[in-house]
Amino acid sequence: MTKILIADDNSQNLYLLESILKGYGYGVTSARNGAEALKLARQNRPDLIITDIFMPVMDGFALCREWKADERLKYIPLIFYTATYTDPRDEQFALSLGAERFLIKPQEPEALAEVVRQVLEEGAEKATEKPFADESETLLQYNEVLFRKLEQKVVQLEEARADLQKIPAALARASQVSLFDSLLVIGMGVLLAIIFNISNPHGIPLIPDRPDPVPSISASAAMEGYRQGQTLIVDAMPNNFFQLRHIKGAVNMPPALFDIMYLVSLSEEDKDQKIVVYGNTISRPYDLEIADKLLLRGYTDVKVLDGGLHAWEVNGYPVDERVSR
């Protein structure tokens, strides 16, 4: 059985190569580096060696030099199989060391097997034909190859370092909440809300119509009528919890209870009764709503209290904590 020695520091590559070669019926021995390969080869001579270049302890170039310098091994063909040294100058140097072939990883199994078959057929006689390069010339080229590789590695290292420097910034960006995302979520909510509100039978206008303005009356003018007993004060706030203090004697008439309170408190009043309505908040013009309802019921002299309860209190006019009527 033809014996092939393979040298590679990468166990996956080693396993793959071993499987392919065994599949073609070759006997395979594996080594982790050049030195181990050399030792195995001296113990048990193979028919061919396939070696990686970039390996620890002894690299492929050094192995090749030792191999071709060894009287017992130099007739055994050597194939470089590398993924690291891919430059044409690397190939040139590798072949100048006496290697039979220079292959770049990865190769299709069929192509690899074909090269192995060819090299085995050509055999060792070709190896003997190869002239050995001058020692100093070889070392010079070897240095050049290593220097070039070192340069490439430095560039790769610089690139990797630059990439690493970007990582903290990228992580910080990722951990920050994107304004765009927040706007997207809000935007979707707003869009769905508006669409649904249009189709909702209970939908409401987005901007409410403000009730028609009603003539207003100042606190002092209202007080005048109040003193004479001619003016009826109506507290239009929703309920008497809202404001603990009320104008003394005011009728509490919240919008929701307007009809009931109207029947109870106002239905017997004359339509020309002077009425002053108060109760306005930042969120609801309750006074305008109630004044509007009263005007619709036929009352002619309805006014809203300018400045509301606050203006009344500022003037020191009578207030009560509970509604008396």
């Binding site: 909440v177 979520v185 909510g189 707003v190 987005l206 919890f241 969120s283």
Partner: protein, 168 residues
Amino acid sequence: MIPPLIKRTITSEYLSFGLRVCLGYFFIYASLSKIPYPAQFAEAIANYRLIPYVFVNLGAVILPWIELVTSLFLIIGFKSRSSIILIGLLLIIFNIMILVNMYRGAPISCGCYDIVGEPIGWKKVLENALMLIFSVQVYYCDKPVPLHRLKSFIGAGSGQWLAAMRPK
């Protein structure tokens, strides 16, 4: 110092997932009760007497939908960081509004889950504060599944189902 086991539990992403679902459920429940009847919710907002008249209806229409969208996103884990931030902000705003009205002494209903709702009070404030703490935990400890992983997971599953359903 916090014991390691408690620290691990508090910062667990599984706890975050549970809290996300929990918060999502509460907000979905809250929004669904308000979405169909915006007028009533507008009244509840107006009762707080903090939002200007022109914005009351707008808030009543939009707010429940923002609650719904954020809570759904929170549960499925899509844009969950933005969603939890929005939920946290809403909780802070709700609590401020409640506290202001508690200070005023206005026993209004909170309008949180139902139209009538329960009256505002310390119970409501604590409830919101607890949900705010949940939000903080989710913000710092949640590791949502990236969408591409979710897609591949769904894709793989659907592929298997399709293969199983294919006539032989």
